[in-house]
Symmetry: C2
Subunit: 221 residues, 2 copies
């Protein structure tokens, strides 16, 4: 049997990147108890896991790492295999798309939450800048929430505070929450470079957001 429900608690699906770091700050402003879950899916860039751990420590919240070796086994994408990241092409599905990944990760976070009586999930998916990923869309999150509610028999809510924000607005949200300094510990670059490569789609998107917000990126500065 699951434990009694705790409506004052939330689980943040936490990659250690800019978006989920902003989600963590958002959740801490709203819930009495916040837990972070990072999925270790065999990402080439182990620095992501390290960034997640450091930011959770800075925030003073528990950090769980849940392994998922399925996607490495399924193969065929640039985030788990040694494949060069292609430049973004308007309208095309980028080769960094891992089919089913967000769905599985959120379901694992929901299972983790279910075991602790938590029904609030927070994820940094964003439709505005979704880079062609169908699993980042609001419609997908609404459908998945319904599937999780039915499949776990629990009143789960998937919170997506960044869904309709631009990258600039996400930067400003984190600044307004007083946590911009956490981004000095974050990781975004698809190529795993430290300092960031500055040329992959993820770096370009991040730089564009900071520029538009008129704020310096503490990771780069």
């Amino acid at each position: 049997m699951p434990p009694a429900l705790d409506p004052q608690a939330a689980v943040v699906l936490f990659s250690g990147g800019q978006d989920s770091t902003t989600c963590l700050a958002w959740a801490l402003a709203r819930y009495a108890k916040v837990l972070t879950v990072t999925i270790d899916y065999g990402q080439r860039h182990r620095i992501e896991l390290y960034a997640a751990k450091r930011i959770a420590a800075a925030a003073g919240v528990p950090h769980a790492v849940v392994p998922c070796d399925s996607f490495t086994a399924l193969g065929g994408n640039s985030l788990t295999a040694n494949v060069a990241v292609a430049a973004a092409v308007e309208g095309a599905l980028p080769n960094s798309f891992v089919p089913g990944r967000n769905l599985v990760f959120l379901t694992l976070a929901a299972a983790f939450a279910w075991q602790r009586g938590i029904t609030n999930l927070v994820t940094g998916v964003c439709q505005t800048d979704y880079s062609g990923y169908p699993d980042c869309r609001a419609a997908t999150m609404t459908a998945l929430e319904a599937a999780l509610r039915a499949g776990l028999d629990s009143p789960i809510t998937i919170h997506t505070p960044l869904m309709h924000l631009t990258k600039a607005e996400t930067v400003l949200m984190l600044r307004d929450l007083g946590r911009l300094d956490w981004l000095a510990l974050s990781h975004t670059c698809y190529n795993g470079s430290v300092p960031p490569c500055g040329t992959c789609p993820a770096c370009l998107l991040r730089a564009k957001g900071f520029a538009a917000a008129g704020v310096a990126d503490p990771l780069v500065g």
Copy 2:
């Protein structure tokens, strides 16, 4: 990019048990190309993986094993941990419930199918005898299908040929498909016993189904 769609192909989520074996026979009667996928989620009873492999070989279909180490890490249930299986209690969630498991397995099967241009998924979930598992209900499958369609941007259909059948009707379906002999290779027992323990909920359900169908179980006989 995903390959071109092949409407004449199906992926069967295949555990090597009675229900998914019946689904395999059902799929072979309907599709020109059938692939089986078994999730290795760290089940205590490795005989399940062996049964799946042998039945797929008997059927002459490809058999892929996709690992998923997440649920062992999440812990807390009788199918992956060394916990005695409790007798079924009417209305209660059995301790063999693994939150999110079916949702993740079907999503992994969908990702596997997506990579091959396949949109038909077949699973042996059954509402009639669902033992209190909310992730076996028709409503859950409908919601998950919608989430997969949105998240993978693909016209996926989850086929559940056993959803509204009794165990007896499932036995008769497999018999009518001429594949009852495959069940001599199958595995059902929650306690992993060979021959089956005959007393766990899964064994009791299987025995009841064969008795009601008036058919001898080739695994027991």
